[in-house]
């Protein structure tokens, strides 16, 4: 296990280095002058030059790269030209919101895709199976931004059930931040009503992400379940008098989950890329929104930092899922050992 961790750790570092280097140079390939733009119309040439010097934009590209990578080794992601703050400080402010949305969406995705897959298999070939297939295919065919707006229209504007955006009701005061995860902070504050408010705010953005991925998740899970139900051990279990629930939860589900896990980590990658759109639509104060605003003015330091952080989150989740394999499947455990 330690060997696996060491190997994955080394690969991860290499991937992060490559991502940082590529993003650094790619972001500067596009001709743009963020310093002149941010200084404003009629800013004196001296003022623009001062901004360029302050952010090191007047130095040769290679020199900027060396300085940036040197800073990275010390955990310094540079300074945002737009917010005039260290990028690390901005990330600390924005990252918890994104992580909370991603984790909530991921859990919702797993629960929903398996729930629908179980229903589809239970009534395989019937109208329930067909309806689930149509619903999930439709969901995957609708662009995330349009789906987000449609959800806002129905659940905020028409029904008035859920907030249009944000992490917490605009006029309400959130609990004091401890972890930055509102679901946890509201519980730590012992405020169940606030927990409900935070949960309600999560539902629409998470749904916009999840509905889009359900087609793939449900179909993969359904196929895995069908494969497992066809195996001899299920017949044996039935012969020994095991009920449908026991067969599903004790035998089939556990065996079916393992092969789906690898694809699940790829789905998580899609979630990360869609979170930018969803955060913009739902006014969600996470790194997606931060990235969008940084891209607009070619604020280089946050762009590179966000690529690194997104990659890191993806790598950590992939590693976590890989570590789950041996726990779920004893054969993998033996192979690993």
């Amino acid at each position: 296990m330690l060997g696996l961790l060491a190997r994955r750790g080394a690969w991860s570092l290499l991937i992060l280095f490559v991502v940082a280097t590529l993003t650094f140079f790619l972001s500067r390939v596009v001709p743009a002058d963020p310093a002149a733009f941010l200084a404003g119309q009629n800013a004196s040439p001296e003022a623009v030059a001062r901004i360029r010097a302050e952010y090191g934009l007047d130095r040769p590209l290679l020199s900027q790269y060396v300085a940036y990578m040197g800073g990275l080794l010390h955990g310094d992601f540079g300074r945002s030209i737009r917010t005039n703050r260290p990028v690390a400080e901005d990330l600390r402010a924005f990252l918890p919101a994104t992580l909370e949305l991603l984790i909530f969406s991921f859990v919702l995705y797993l629960l929903a895709s398996w729930f629908l897959a179980i229903l589809a298999v239970r009534w395989r070939g019937g109208w329930v199976d067909g309806a689930i297939r149509v619903f999930t295919m439709l969901g995957s065919g609708i662009p995330v931004f349009w789906l987000g707006m449609a959800l806002q229209f129905v659940f905020f504007y028409r029904l008035g059930w859920l907030p249009i955006g944000g992490r917490f009701p605009i006029r309400a005061i959130p609990p004091p931040p401890v972890t930055g995860f509102l679901l946890i902070d509201t519980l730590l504050a012992g405020n169940l009503h606030a927990f409900g408010q935070a949960l309600a705010a999560l539902l629409l953005p998470a749904a916009a992400i999840v509905i889009n991925l359900l087609a793939v998740g449900t179909r993969m899970s359904r196929a895995a379940l069908i494969t497992e139900y066809a195996r001899p051990y299920v017949r044996t279990a039935r012969g020994k008098g095991a009920g449908p629930g026991r067969i599903l939860y004790r035998h089939v589900l556990r065996n079916a989950i393992a092969p789906v896990l690898a694809a699940t980590s790829i789905q998580f990658g899609y979630m990360i890329s869609w979170v930018i759109l969803v955060e913009v639509i739902f006014d969600w104060p996470g790194i997606g929104l931060y990235a969008y605003q940084s891209f607009e003015v070619f604020d280089y330091a946050p762009v590179v930092a966000l690529a690194i952080v997104s990659t890191l989150v993806f790598l950590v989740i992939s590693l976590g899922l890989d570590l789950l394999y041996p726990w779920l499947d004893p054969r993998m455990r033996e192979a690993t050992s």
Binding site: G40, S44, F94, G165, I170
Partner: protein, 512 residues
């Protein structure tokens, strides 16, 4: 089956909690106003604020030496200064007594000097409006003398845009002129005080009950300046009651919402031509003046009027007619004339012309103007390739001579001084001179206008400057629309500032 029951038992309370947390459309807090802002500010430092979302805080937290009547921008009103007079290059301002900053310091002439000195030292934001200032002298605690490089008739009006900071605050943060500190700290004498800034979410302001000015009955005690990046979300949220007011609601949505029950539409003049198409004077084929003439003449101005549903006019030149001293009414109308456009194209001698146009993305009006140009030019055989790019990249494309045209919303923050706009957009070295218009005679003329005391002479000079730009065929002023803002009927007092982006004058708003 037990497991299903377990699921229901586990999920039931969660669903119940989410339902209990679902927000009613409007919380019962009438004295709180939610203003949906199109973006998060990069800074609230008055010396650096430059765009709409940054000006919201600056305009409401700080005061200015002068104000002006929105309907008559050349009629100045007292603010922190009660009286002012000009004598050659010297302006003397007599200041209001008994004004205090929100953190308690008394306001004096030293604050005016420290503010202007700092603005000029930083040289960003709105400092261009007062860049002619040579020196600020404190005559006594309530008298300040401002000396300009040359006589400047517009100075008092332009000071209506300069937020006055506390000299003590500036002195307490000498490093980098306090730029890091003032990025997210504010202490003014204005009607609202800065409370907090939650990054990515909102800024909270609170009514300054010690303000020297007058609030209407039932003002808003608390204001939430909420950052809502997506235009459709702003429109939907305004319509659904999540926000009380919103800026930059897409025009068609604004008109629709404004006519719904429970809303009314406030219409007014706001900034200048929007949008304008800049034609590059230094890159073929637009480097050919006759070719540019053909483009100006072939453009379908009526299509733009239809796009704005009739609430726009076709400009005759760079300065709107409602700007004091505008020569617009004495300029010839600009109309589509395809025969004249063909003649101009023939005269240019350009064969099979192809040109590129960089259009900043995210602005429906710009995209439409680009499409109209493309379709209009095709009628006389000119191929226009449109490149939609992020603003910074689009402007860089034309400034670095990689594009023939660029589309920009014209803006001027001064209520009366057109020369600042002309300098930024048409003089050599002007940041927005994306047409690369280069005319030393024009530069000289624009530099002289503010020093001329005779209004008729200034008028003639502005007219001459406008004619020079028109004759260069460097700009297609596609349309000059009115601004329409949908306002819920429970909000009173909303007015459009003609020399501002879509603004909110919080001190004038009240609950109906």
């Amino acid at each position: 089956m037990n497991r299903y029951r377990w699921c229901i038992v586990a999920l039931g309370p969660l669903i119940g909690l989410a339902a209990s947390g679902a927000t009613p459309l409007r919380a019962a807090e009438p004295s709180t106003l939610v203003w949906a802002e199109a973006a998060e500010p990069a800074t609230i430092d008055p010396a650096k604020v430059n765009v709409n979302q940054e000006l919201t805080v600056a305009r409401n937290v700080y005061d200015h030496l002068t104000n002006f009547e929105l309907e008559h921008p050349d009629h100045l009103l007292p603010a922190l200064a009660l009286t002012w007079k000009r004598d050659g290059t010297d302006w003397t301002f007599t200041l209001r007594h008994g004004v205090t900053f929100q953190h308690g310091q008394p306001f004096t002439a030293a604050d005016v000097k420290a503010t202007i000195d700092r603005d000029l030292a930083i040289g960003q934001g709105q400092s261009y409006l007062v860049s002619d200032i040579k020196q600020v002298t404190v005559v006594d605690p309530y008298t300040v003398r401002i000396t300009t490089q040359q006589p400047d008739v517009y100075l008092a009006a332009n000071l209506s845009r300069i937020e006055i900071m506390s000299a003590a605050d500036i002195a307490a943060h000498p490093k980098d002129h306090g730029e890091a500190y003032f990025t997210d700290h504010a202490n003014g004498t204005g009607p609202y005080s800065f409370v907090s800034w939650t990054r990515g979410e909102q800024i909270i302001l609170q009514r300054n009950t010690h303000w020297w000015g007058h609030f209407p009955d039932k003002p808003f005690d608390r204001v939430i300046d909420r950052f809502v990046t997506d235009a459709a979300t702003r429109a939907r949220g305004l319509e659904g009651g999540a926000y009380d007011l919103a800026n930059f609601v897409p025009r068609d949505e604004a008109l629709r919402i404004g006519h719904l029950p429970g809303f009314h539409l406030v219409e007014g003049n706001n900034l200048w031509a929007w949008p304008a198409i800049y034609l590059n004077n230094t890159l073929a084929p637009t480097s050919n003046i006759d070719f540019r003439d053909a483009l100006v003449k072939v453009f379908d101005y009526d299509a733009m009027t239809q796009y704005y549903q009739g609430s726009s006019v076709t400009p005759r030149g760079p300065i709107p007619d409602w700007v004091p001293g505008s020569p617009e009414k004495d300029l010839a109308p600009i109309k589509q004339d395809i025969a004249a456009a063909k003649a101009a194209l023939d005269k240019s001698g350009v064969k099979n012309p192809v040109m590129t146009c960089s259009v900043p993305s995210g602005f429906a009006e710009f995209a439409f103007a680009g499409t109209v140009l493309q379709a209009s030019a095709a009628q006389i055989g000119i191929t226009v390739k449109i490149e939609q790019l992020p603003f910074v990249q689009a402007i860089d494309a034309i400034k670095s001579n990689h594009s023939n045209c660029f589309i920009l919303g014209n803006a001027n923050l001064s209520p009366v001084d057109a020369t600042k706009f002309l300098a930024a957009h048409y003089t050599t070295g002007g940041y927005y001179n994306t047409a690369h218009y280069d005319n030393p005679a024009f530069d000289k003329l624009v530099a002289q206008i503010s020093s001329v005391t005779d209004p008729q002479q200034r008028y003639d000079m502005l007219k001459r400057a406008s004619q020079m730009i028109i004759a260069s065929h460097s700009i297609i002023w596609a349309a000059r629309p009115k601004t329409d803002v949908p306002v819920p009927n429970h909000i009173g007092g909303y007015r459009i500032d003609p020399a501002e982006y879509i603004n909110v004058r919080l001190w004038e708003l009240y609950q109906k």
